[in-house]
Subunit: 476 residues, 2 copies
């Protein structure tokens, strides 16, 4: 297995898709199985997910939410209760038709999302304004029957959290929708060093059954966009279909206002495609399962391994640190740690021991830094912060360099062809223009960003009056 | 909703099954849904599961295991690769036959357990003794198509962890099987205050596909047993069926030795049935989401609420504490906190404030203790420890009082009818005797306990020579 690790991977500018596949398999994040379109998340990949999950779960709880668990299976009749919702999801659900040897009277689908299950439960437990808000979240697996799949980015099954809340008023629901989008943006920017554009989806692109959908969009190395988290104001649609009503402060029955919001294992794909390079994965220190790898040099020489283990022992309470004391050559270990995206490598050999220093090597820049023994802990802490910031700034710089404004369709297609990336352009609000732009350019509307600019007075496509700037891009 | 909380629940000695249903619903641990046999785990129930999960996950990691995630769906052909395994599970799996509108070429089952998925992956990644051991675990949902279901105890879907490991030698696999059983026993005894009997399952009762199964068995308040965790030595059966081979230290190909072990949401049912009483749930402090509930007395009077919040503020870093400042009457709050099994109630009213003291009330004994202000923190800590111990000792006392030795079938049936509980009796090792005992008494062999006693020289059923003592009981 070790051999595979240091085989060359495909150059990212040559074939980005193949580079991605090489990285996810050779960095041992995933393995394939005989289940079409599903992935095995291996220990290194799952440890990354656990760090994301823990950070997000903490935020979800700190914002007042409680975790629950809903059933995996949904009866067909329940899924059908909200019309837009079933239309959106029916083509992509997996159906259970038999339990043991018995054919079921009613088909059950494996949840593609759990709005209808929450709705049914909320109807049972909400009666008065005193029961509101209900701020629930669940961590779960869901299945969507996709035709083409790629590890993390699009898989039949993925892991996620889905928040589902009920509120007294429209304003409360709106506030919640915004709040959770901000939580997602924080996780992306602070933990994963992925800069995001926040905005609202067009009617065409919003969630099936929502009043409106907010989204964070990020830009990959290859210039394609990736939807990185969504937060939906469901309005009273589900509440009306399911009869989730409460006695309000005036003693009248009214439907609750709902939201839902989700964040998935897909984000690991984004992190790989935003930060990775031709040597493999590059992990932001905040999310890296191992932040520092100690590689002993000439480890057969007396005192080297002892010194390496001493360092490991003295540092392990302040940093996630591991040691590679296997009998592989240092060169192999360097390549392996680079492939796995470990932020810092710490080299220690006989000469270093003599000179009371070690060498730290940054994964993001390749820079080598000699550090005296008494300064190691402080220097590691400083460097990890610097790497985290550098990755964010690099990604932001890349996004800025790949964002262009277009006032005409010539500029639109010209920029998109030449540079890829985000195209900012004005839009009249008609879905026909959105459809035409997609057909002609393959770019979809990513969002109507919260931060608007008035680039011109008219729609980039139809030249009719336009007051909305939309971000367009080809997307994963 | 609040009203329901303090409605009387069924007396446990009148109708234990109804008492159980009352408690799980009225303490708001679960709700039913339109999905037959599945449950909604509500915030209070899920918070208990999170505490169990966190404690067990820590132990699993400290014993060197790594978490992974395997697909939910298993192709029929893959499930069929190990003969005993498919025979055991085929009657109780749910089958997916359609994805969207398309009929699948091969049926997929929803995992009832994941041995075959791990086996397939292990075949891919294990080549040499250097790749061993592989110590993997996953937290997942599984489905078993049960006919009769009850919340936590038996549900179509449940949550669990399943460990799957590969080893070089039979001894290593044996050691792992024992080690993980010990981890489960610790979680039961230390965290959940449930005493367990450790032992080995008979051939009849072992896991489908295992060489042997170790189990921990606990005894419920009504005298019925509950299997609380199992650890299987799989031997080389799966390795041979799947071709999981490695080059050993002598350079020869050989199959790996495997184990698997699982612990489920079922244990919450055990905890309820071991500790609960006619007032509702009784939670061991270690696992209680709320350990202390502050109930202000005459909270409309000046200073009471302030004092209550001050207490909450000063104690919240050392104990899981909440305050009920709602406008319900104290009596309601007392009943509610008892129904929910909160270990300690802290009452504070005008007179207490004047006298610089509070009243603590134990859920397990009902005892009221006056505590001076400066001793509150220490006293809470002391009492929580005492309650934890008391619950364990009470449960152990109950088990001892409900355990009888039987040398003849008359004693066996007499004790079982009169007292329920565990019957210790000698067994010759023939399955026919085991079958007959089950048919005549409805008691099944729970295990061959590690701690053996030679109660007589002959089998309780057939009077042939016997050197194994078996624990028998009616079981959940
Ligand atoms: Zn237009
Ligand atoms: Zn016998």
């Amino acid at each position: 297995m070790t051999k595979k690790m240091v085989e060359k991977i495909t150059n990212m500018d040559e074939d980005f898709a193949q580079w991605y596949t090489d990285v996810v398999t050779k960095a041992e994040l995933v393995d394939y199985s005989s289940v079409r379109g599903s992935m095995i998340i291996r220990p290194y990949g799952y440890a990354i997910w656990e760090r994301i999950k823990d950070a997000l779960d903490t935020q979800i709880k700190e914002t007042g939410h409680e975790n629950v668990y809903m059933p995996l299976l949904i009866p067909e009749s329940l899924l059908q209760k909200e019309k837009d919702h079933i239309e959106g999801f029916a083509p992509e659900v997996a159906w259970v038709t038999h339990g043991g040897d018995e054919k079921l009277a009613e088909r059950l689908c494996i949840r593609p999302t759990s709005e209808v299950l929450f709705a049914e439960h909320y109807k049972n437990i909400i009666h008065s304004y005193r029961d509101l808000p209900k701020l629930y979240n669940q961590w779960a697996n869901v299945i969507r029957w996709e035709k083409t799949t790629r590890p993390f980015l699009r898989t039949l099954e993925f892991l996620w959290q889905e928040g589902h809340t009920c509120h007294e008023t429209e304003e409360d629901a709106h506030e919640e929708t915004v709040k959770m989008l901000e939580v997602y943006a924080e996780i992306c920017e602070r933990l994963l060093a992925i800069p995001v554009v926040k905005g609202r989806k067009t009617e065409k692109e919003k969630f099936a059954g929502a009043k409106y959908t907010y989204t964070i969009e990020s830009l990959m190395h290859d210039g394609k966009a990736l939807q990185s988290g969504t937060s939906h104001n469901l309005g009273t649609g589900f509440a009306e279909s399911f009869g989730i009503e409460f006695l309000n402060r005036e003693g009248k029955l009214q439907p609750v206002h709902q939201t839902s919001w989700g964040f998935t294992t897909r984000i690991i794909g984004a992190m790989i495609m935003v930060h990775g390079d031709d040597k493999g994965l590059v992990l932001p220190p905040e999310v890296a399962p191992i932040q520092v790898l100690i590689v002993p040099i000439a480890q057969h020489k007396e005192g080297v391994l002892d010194a390496a283990y001493d360092l490991h022992h003295s540092l392990k309470s302040s940093v996630r640190i591991a040691i590679d004391a296997s009998d592989k050559k240092p060169g192999w270990k360097f390549n392996e740690s680079e492939m796995k995206g470990i932020p810092l490598r710490l080299e220690i050999g006989p000469k270093d021991i003599e000179e009371k220093k070690v060498v730290l090597v940054r994964r993001d820049t390749g820079e080598k830094i000699q550090v005296e023994n008494e300064k190691i802990e402080a220097e590691i802490s400083r460097l990890l912060k610097e790497i985290q910031e550098n990755l964010y700034n690099k990604a932001l710089g890349h996004r800025i360099s790949k964002t262009a404004a277009a006032v005409t369709m010539d500029e639109f297609t010209g920029n998109l062809t030449k540079n890829g990336g985000f195209i900012n352009a004005m839009w009249c609000g008609k879905q026909s223009c959105e459809d035409q732009i997609k057909e002609q350019t393959q770019a979809t509307s990513r969002c109507i960003p919260f931060e608007q600019e008035q680039l011109s007075e008219v729609c980039v496509y139809c030249s009719e009056p336009a007051d909305k700037m939309v971000v367009w891009a080809k997307a994963y």
